[in-house]
């Protein structure tokens, strides 16, 4: 048999010229950096949107100066209109869920680290990898373009429930070309994610170096691998959903639009479709999507923890990996818990509720493993470790909310309240962001060859951690009082008394956003002025630390890599590289 995998290692030479090297690069490391940068830009755009929303929610009469320049129609004189609020909310969700949380932990760090961690010179299909990034980029440009078309971005939320999203401009401004752009952007993003997932799967299976058995894979690689399967199947269903939505909008079909709709006194020319079909197809993707976001976070934290507690995780690689596989599998059978009150068959609510509660078990196992691995550890509190601890705390808090939302009876009170907003921001939003920060601080020396500033990193952590709780725990609590989400102003009698609390959330959210500029400054400053990073600054054991910072073009400078150990060979100060033939110190 011809050693086909040799192709990946040899079929491209180091590229020459700026364009080939840094723009249309096939090098997985450059692509990883491109993804990370795209996500960072997207994250700050998404954050700016949330700032505008929070200012409006706290002080509905406030004039936001920049906004009027940005959108003369949506915010005349800086005073946000209700429809523009919804547009900003939609784009905040879309940008954050797709272009930040799906892209950064998986495509960003995964692209850079996965081939190195398995000992390969590049991804299995480098050109496909480049295509994934640039297709994602096109998707991002399409999403951002909605801000600049006359009617502004769509206003039907990141879930784009039909028929609001399907009937066209009659349902409100932004439902015209804004929604078309949205549909195309997400369809394009699906294609990019599918190609990326394909690449991850094949690389992990086929390109492992000698001795790199599945049991020796770093846990981050395991997470990306499991996650690639989940995204492969989930995005494969979102793609047709987007296509059918676009067909309904542009082709005149009625997949999601029933007969006899009257909007603005105009009878709509559709018949026979079902809004519930859209919800089913969307959430068939949508629920795995939240695990697509959180699984890489699991992996990154499980990868980082052993380095800083100086011992293996309890249960070795098996316990946490099986937990991740269980979470990934169960994620496909629980989507109906988003639809308990949607008019879905009430019997199906029970069918979806039980696995939703059961998915808690592998999640609890994962949390127990992380927590009890800290027992009698020699913890070092570098910034990556702090963010990992923050992740565990946030994930516990978020997971607890899941108990309420997994049961149809309790969900029927809390559904569509700010409890849900707090819940998903904890579990998939901030948990994933904290893990991504942990990964960023951890891998920054490897990716850019310089150390980040620890003091600034710690300040960033303390501020973020406290403020995140101020914002989203408060949202949980107001949810109990029935504060409805997705309102651009609070005019209901029972919502008015909550306005001071909303202002508190707004202030905390603004400060939380401001704290992120410490991070941005730290990253940019360290990129150019930080002290040069050694090859292995954290005393870690996996392959990415067994090469220069940053790694050479072919990752290991032509060295033949052979792996002898699992990734968690730590015993206090002692640790053994995966490539070192020395005896194991951790007895794994």
């Amino acid at each position: 048999m011809e050693p086909m995998s040799a192709h990946a290692a040899t079929h491209h030479a180091p590229p020459q010229g700026f364009i080939r090297k840094y723009v249309f690069s096939v090098d997985h490391k450059i692509i990883g950096i491109q993804y990370t940068t795209l996500s960072l830009v997207a994250a700050f755009i998404g954050m700016a949107l949330s700032w505008a929303m929070r200012i409006h929610l706290g002080w509905p009469d406030a004039h936001i100066p920049l906004l009027s320049m940005f959108s003369p129609n949506g915010a005349p004189g800086g005073l946000m209109t209700p429809e523009y609020y919804l547009s900003l909310m939609t784009m905040h969700g879309t940008i954050m869920a797709f272009f930040v949380l799906t892209a950064a932990p998986m495509a960003g760090f995964g692209n850079f680290m996965l081939p190195i961690q398995v000992g390969a010179a590049d991804m299995a299909f480098p050109r496909l990898n480049m295509a994934s990034f640039w297709v994602t980029f096109v998707g991002f440009v399409l999403a951002c373009a909605t801000f600049f078309i006359p009617d502004g971005p769509p206003l039907s939320g990141w879930t784009a429930y039909a028929p609001l999203s399907a009937v066209g401009t009659v349902a409100g401004p932004g439902q015209g070309w804004g929604q078309n752009f949205w549909g195309l952007s997400i369809a394009v993003f699906c294609v990019a994610s599918l190609l990326g997932a394909l690449n991850f799967i094949v690389t992990t299976l086929d390109l492992r170096t000698k001795g790199m058995t599945l049991s020796r894979l770093p846990l981050s690689t395991w997470a990306w691998f499991i996650n690639a399967w989940v995204s492969l199947l989930a995005f494969a269903v979102l793609l047709p959903t987007c296509l059918l939505l676009v067909l309904d909008r542009l082709g005149g079909t009625s997949f999601f639009i029933p007969a006899g709709l009257v909007i603005n006194d105009q009878l709509q020319p559709h018949s026979g479709g079902s809004p519930l079909l859209f919800q089913h197809l969307f959430w068939f993707f949508g629920h795995p999507e939240v695990y697509i976001i959180i699984l890489p976070a699991f992996g990154i934290v499980s990868h980082i923890l052993p380095t800083f507690i100086r011992k293996p995780l309890v249960g070795g690689w098996k316990a946490i990996t099986y937990a991740m596989i269980a979470v990934g599998t169960l994620s496909f059978v629980v989507w109906g818990h988003h639809m308990f009150v949607s008019g879905m068959s009430p019997f199906m609510a029970m069918v979806f509720s039980v696995p939703t509660l059961f998915i808690t078990i592998p999640s609890v196992i994962a949390v127990l493993i992380w927590t009890f691995s800290l027992y009698r550890a020699n913890m070092r509190f570098d910034t990556p470790m702090l963010f990992s601890l923050g992740f565990i705390s946030l994930f516990i808090s978020g997971g607890i909310g899941g108990f309420f939302l997994a049961q149809p009876s309790t969900d029927s009170y809390l559904h569509a309240t700010s409890f849900v907003v707090g819940h998903f921001h904890f579990t998939m939003g901030l948990s994933a962001i904290f893990a991504a920060f942990a990964g960023f601080y951890y891998w920054f020396p490897k990716m850019w060859g310089r150390m980040m500033n620890e003091t600034l990193g710690k300040v960033h952590f303390w501020l973020s951690f406290v403020l995140v709780y101020c914002v989203f725990m408060t949202m949980h609590l107001t949810g109990f009082a029935g504060a409805v989400r997705r309102y651009s102003a609070f005019v209901d009698d029972f919502m008015v008394p909550l306005i001071p609390t909303q202002r508190f959330i707004s202030v905390a959210a603004l400060l939380l956003g401001a704290a992120q500029f410490i991070f941005l400054f730290n990253a940019i400053w360290s990129r150019f002025q930080g002290p040069k990073a050694p090859d292995n600054p954290w005393g870690a054991t996996t392959l990415e630390w067994d090469t220069t910072s940053p790694p050479p073009f072919d990752n290991f400078g032509g060295r033949q890599i052979t792996v002898y150990h699992g990734p968690m060979e730590y015993d206090g100060e002692a640790s053994v590289m995966q490539t070192s033939p020395e005896v194991s110190v951790a007895g794994t």
Partner: protein
Amino acid sequence: MSTTRQLAMSSYVGIGVGLMVIVCIEVILTYQHLPTRTLLFSLLCLASLEGFVAIMYLMQVKYERPILFWTIFPVTLFVLIFLNYLWPDAFRMFNMRLLQ
């Protein structure tokens, strides 16, 4: 990874003819005026049989390492099974229509 344990080309032609025969059976069944459910069920069974033959012989999974089959088959089946969760609401759409 090509293997030498493949059938002769004439056997593949036989498989092709066999598949075509199944298609003919499907068409004949269609004109038996069976109840819709029975027809759908039999057509799906026959199509699955065809699909299985195509995967095993035309796509040569039979001659690959078994790990390939066990990588692709369960995940696909998993999605196909759980998409069936949406049928109760399809019937709901039929039974609870606003405009009769």
